[in-house]
Symmetry: C2
Subunit: 458 residues, 2 copies
């Protein structure tokens, strides 16, 4: 890994390639584990401590990238040379790092499963140094996609019959955020993304219209519409808010018949500013009066689930939406209070007791009960070996560092997610839930916590 | 670019490598520009429309990565093959894309310069297709680093004498966000980062202590402290809040003399939970009573500029801070209302008039006046050719697609930023500014806007 490269792209590549995408303390702790032979089996769980006030449920996502990361984890010779240069590490420890691979097992909830506070969604069981080293990137991957999938699912629930497209690359926090936001929102029920690379990488349908600059660069708006339509006859969605939205809608109405004679159909118009609902009503009238009932209205610009809900209540005639900034940054709750915590080491349950951050020890499983028509009733967080009613949500997906099954196609994960969203109780489906979903900590877990406290290190 | 690869790292690499890291509409617009020979010179500017309510100033950042991106921009044969497969593009257009490079010029504010609403911080002048294509990634890069540098600068202003370390990889929005947040916060005056890859890539000092899991994995806390200290004698900062903060501080006090006899000095302790201020006072007393006045207190966990300000007012004895989630996600304002807009094409000023999103046309310059002691007085946004008082902030940094100067070392940018923060007026330096900084739009720009409206396309 070199500090200077010839393109920004290359810089980012070097960074995400190596095992150095971690916090320094993982490496200094590993050096101590290595020195003192602490390589027994550790169990870490990833969970959320508390849902953001604006969320009634979360959606698990990011497992696929986590497994890919664990499979590929290794230090390159360049990584080791850089570490040697810091002077913080012994050379025989660096030799040890050079051999290190992830050989543990992973239990996880399927991507797309709704989850709640205190429920582990991923459990890593591995020799302590391996399970420790991966903490930073495992959290980084699970946190972000779960954050975005949760926000996206709320949008989908507020506009169940309207196609939603992810539009946020420009305001996403870097390239990877843009790409993974496209994945997480498609997973949660969006129909596609504007980001070409996300389409190429994850096989997500891509959508796009035109920018204001396209209109501005032309000497008149109608010429801009015509130029675009004849060049891209399969995807004619015309942006009409550059100067005067209703005037532009009238231009579209005037242009459409001549395009139709050339065999080009105007599919839709896009509005990106002003009071979207008011403009949509007026534009709908203009288009309908011209016999263009089939031309759809696509809206973008500051959309989130709150506005979608308002539009649904007001029956605004917008057919589909592009959602960017608020989705890709999860603007009303830009992070989850999540953690990846040691729950067992060398066969003994471990419990952190820090104020406000105490953990439930042991290897845990989440059991979910549903009613006769498949709606979720309650969850119990129990120990793995407990026998409980309900469906266990965590399954073993990796053993000895190898996946037990090939990756599931993203479109199938999406189908599963939509089905799962259908099992949420009415309160959780609302924009502002009336009450939290009932999650119980099993007595077995509480007993283990008490025991872990009483046998706790002095 | 293949959809399936064998590691998460590789997936990210493919994504950030290509010119496909863009919105689909850039490519459909380019096809129309190409078809209709619209390749005259376009001028786009990147600016922020309105500061978030919680910000009195912003700090320009991300220029270096933007220039690297522009220098390296090209479509690979894999990119072109994928585009061909979509069926949306003509093959001779794809041949044209294969040859496309960025050959334009860039004017920009130096990284680290404070800026305000309506002020362009980057201006791109290039043949229309080139200037258009780069929109998505240019915004993505400038937006995120400016967002984080601005948040980091606020932290630095609230704790001018306390070393601050960036700690946020795990909750950053993906890998690139973690890496670029480390860069942006170091640039704004932080002393370093916990992220190893950011240290390697950008030559930023790295810092780290230990995690709770390290303590938990040991059978007693003192053994954990000792194991760590003897293995990492140069960086002994001990985490004391896993079970009982004050009890652990007493253990550190008891252990320090024997470590000292072995030549190992305890540098500091870290507190990560509870009321940090209260714990810090008690821990300070315990350490002082044991003669450990030199052992510093490092705090982390939910830190932001508001808490730093409170600690400063209460004279809390914390020596340095690790700041993660709130910094890396800019949690109180997770995005900037920014844009990259066409201001001139083919020698004519262009103006978007969309409601709430109208632009100031033409090639602009920002002139800044300072008083006799170097404090900023006001800015004027004028046309490039205007002669105005004050220092022009935009300089040409790239011409014909080539940089005019080699990249400035990050540590020098950091020095410049700290100097610039020193020129902010008192109101802007506050947590909640009393009044916005005065920025005037020059009459010449207003006249051009009127003219652009009257000659506007019908």
């Amino acid at each position: 890994m070199s500090a200077k490269t010839d393109s920004a792209n290359a810089v980012m590549i070097d960074a995400t390639h190596g095992a150095l995408l971690t916090d320094l303390y993982q490496l200094t702790m590993l050096q101590a584990y290595w020195r003192h032979g602490m390589e027994q089996t550790a169990v870490f769980e990833f969970f959320v401590r508390k849902l953001p006030a604006q969320r009634g449920f979360l959606v698990a996502a990011g497992l696929e990238q986590t497994l890919q990361y664990l499979e590929g984890l290794h230090f390159t010779s360049g990584d080791l040379a850089w570490l040697a240069n810091t002077g913080k590490f012994e050379s025989s420890f660096l030799d040890y790092l050079g051999e290190l691979r992830f050989r543990g097992s992973v239990h996880a909830m399927a991507e797309g499963t709704p989850f709640f506070a205190d429920e582990p969604i991923v459990r890593v069981t591995a020799p302590l140094p391996q399970a420790q080293l991966v903490e930073s990137r495992v959290i980084n991957l699970l946190h972000f996609q779960s954050l975005i999938a949760s926000k996206a699912a709320r949008c989908v629930l507020m506009a169940p019959d309207k196609p939603l497209v992810e539009f946020g690359l420009r305001r996403a926090h870097g390239a990877e955020a843009g790409l993974l936001a496209a994945r997480a929102s498609y997973l949660a029920g969006f129909v596609g993304t504007a980001t070409v690379a996300a389409g190429a990488m994850f096989d997500i349908p891509t959508y796009g219209t035109m920018a204001h600059s396209f209109i501005q660069a032309h000497d008149d708006e109608t010429s801009a519409f015509r130029d675009f339509a004849v060049t891209n006859p399969g995807s004619v969605v015309l942006l009409i808010d550059t100067y005067d939205t209703e005037a532009a809608a009238a231009k579209v109405a005037a242009l459409a018949p001549s395009l139709r004679e050339e065999g080009i159909m105007v599919k839709g118009v896009r509005i990106d500013s002003g009071d979207l609902g008011q403009h949509a009503r007026r534009v709908r009238s203009i288009l309908d009066a011209a016999g263009l009932q089939d031309v759809t209205i696509f809206a973008s610009g500051n959309i989130d689930e709150y506005l979608l809900n308002q539009h649904a209540e007001q029956q605004i005639p917008i057919d589909s939406y592009g959602i960017g900034t608020h989705l890709d940054t999860s603007a009303d709750a830009s992070y989850l209070d999540c953690a990846y915590k040691l729950q067992e080491y060398a066969g003994t349950a471990r419990r952190k007791r820090s104020e406000g951050k105490a953990t439930w020890p042991g290897r845990k499983q989440v059991y979910r009960r549903e009613n006769a028509v498949g709606i979720m009733i309650n969850d119990v967080v129990a120990l793995e070996d407990d026998v409980r009613e309900g469906s266990p949500l965590l399954r073993e997906v990796m053993r000895d560092g190898r996946r037990l099954e090939p990756p599931m196609p993203l479109s199938e994960i999406r189908d599963y997610t939509l089905e799962q969203l259908g099992t949420l109780p009415p309160s959780q489906r609302r924009l502002r839930p009336d009450a939290p979903y009932p999650v119980t900590i099993a007595e077995s877990v509480k007993r283990l916590a008490t025991k872990a406290v009483s046998t706790m290190p002095r």
